[in-house]
Amino acid sequence: MTEPAIEVNDLTVAYHERPVLWDMDVRVRAGALTAIVGPNGAGKTTLIKAILGLVSPAAGRIRILGRKYREARREVAYVPQRGTVDWDFPTSVLDVVLMGTYGGLGWMRRPGRKERERAEAALEQVGMEAFAQRQISQLSGGQQQRVFLARALVQDASVYLMDEPFQGVDARTERAIVEVLRHLRERGKTVVAVHHALQTVPEYFDDVVILNVRKIAAGPVAEAFTEQHLRTAYGGRVPFLQGVAPSPPATPGVQESPDPAADRRGTFSGGA
């Protein structure tokens, strides 16, 4: 079995004594596209932030590529929710994408020509090269999302964590993002994305983690993305159930290899 890209053990996160995530075990398969789904307030964003070390857990252990976040930082790229920043900030598209290179630069060092070229290449990947000098307030929602994606691409990481990359984007952007995700998978990268639209989970993702404060199910979409699990997570009111819960066939590219060391409940593992 290859090492998981992300390994979360016994993770509990609480805000003001109120648990947001309870005793969660998750393994994210390297080289796969994994969706995190669950109802509002289920702790999806918190899980991403805990992995990134942005919130400190009450308990548990998180390893990225076998290392602590601090040591694996350069291998991780992050796409926050689009609404978390002020898009009227006086800066250009290229400038925002360049921020993806800051982590690799030391204190006081400015991005140079090399970084600029990388940023331009990333913009090209998301189809935004024509907008490099555009002020960010002049972008549509979908274009903003693609700029954030380009910023993560510039980080040139192995693991990409995305918080609702498809939230409120136009069809063209959705296609572009899917393309980028597939391209990342081809290059052996790992992508974990918080996702809302349940109907596109089987089409876009290989694996899924269903959670609602605790983990409900996790594994290859064909196995874990079942009606029963979704009903458990969403409390019976599942927004979309079509195309869900097929009988588990062998998913191409996913070779299920039960790990005797792993707890049967919850965790999943597999080698690609």
């Binding site: 053990n9 016994d10 509990t12 609480a14 004594e17 648990p19 309870w22 005793d23 075990d25 857990p57 009450a58 308990a59 548990g60 252990r61 404060v213 605790r214 005797p260 060391a261 792993a262 707890d263 049967r264 409940r265 919850g266």
Partner: protein, 370 residues
Amino acid sequence: MTWIDVEIQLLAVVVAVSCALPGVFLVLRRMALMSDAISHSILLGIVLAFFVVEDITHPLLVVAAAATGVLTVGLVELLHRTRKVKEDAAIALVFPALFSIAVILISRYAGSVHLDLDAVLLGEIAFAPFRRLEVGGMDLGPRGLWLMGAILILNVLTILLFYKELKLCTFDAGLAAALGFSPVLVHYAFMTLVSGTAVGAFDSVGSILVVALMIAPPAAAYLLTDRLPHLLLLSGGIGAASAVVGFWLARGLDASIAGSMATMTGVTFLLALLFAPDRGVVAGVRRRARQRVEFAGEMLMIHVLNHEGGVRARVENREDHLQEHLRWSPDFARRVVRHAEREGLIIRTQGGELHLTPLGREFARHRMIH
């Protein structure tokens, strides 16, 4: 204590209570800094009206000043709505400009305006007893007390009469609009009240300390209670107490009365912040320490439940594993396990494995789904 002292304290209490009442809604509506903007800009209204009537005691001054206060609110909103500046910047742009004009006018025509800059910042509560209201040769007491008393009554009446509207527009402007109240109308009416109160208080405590009287007592009360009626009463009480203590502090130090009233509202707020029974910092620290063990106990049981019967249960469900995986110190892990054992939620086998009791299992299941 002389009669003058009594009159000053009486005025101080009336000013403090008048400010605290509308202040409750300012704090709840997250518009605390509007009081800062209003209390500064009213000076311009006073100065301009003075140029017209040339009498510093003329009632028009009060009206003009209150109108300037409301105008400030409107200007801030107008500027914010252009979306060229954010709301905080809009506030920080509007009132300094208006205040600057007023200060320049005062210093330019210092001879003719009976207002000096000290009075603008400090108020003249100490001199209030020397300005009497006389009707037909009969002394009715300090004029300031009458004005401020009228404002206090107006505030109390407004809040009593429009309690429902104010409450609704404060907590759910959308619902208020749906029910046919106009949140905008209520907003401006309320801001007129705030402006009028600021104008009245300005004479006594100056333009900046009004902010302390309006914001600090309600904020302190907000740490002590959740219910709006209690909030109003408590704010008034805290304001009054701060005013009296502040007066005697100023006496003791031979310093500014208004300044020490403001200081006392700050001290009261600090006391509430630290020692409020439920929401205070000290109470919070103690509660967290207690809850940490309880919370850890829940975590422990859910952990055991999750791994019960699993292949790795023998490894996961042990006290020494908790230290490693839940990041607990050996000491803390022992405390939590003891706690859970005492509550009859968990049993420990001789080999050190942890098992849930039926009660513990039910409890853990319940916690997992809330």
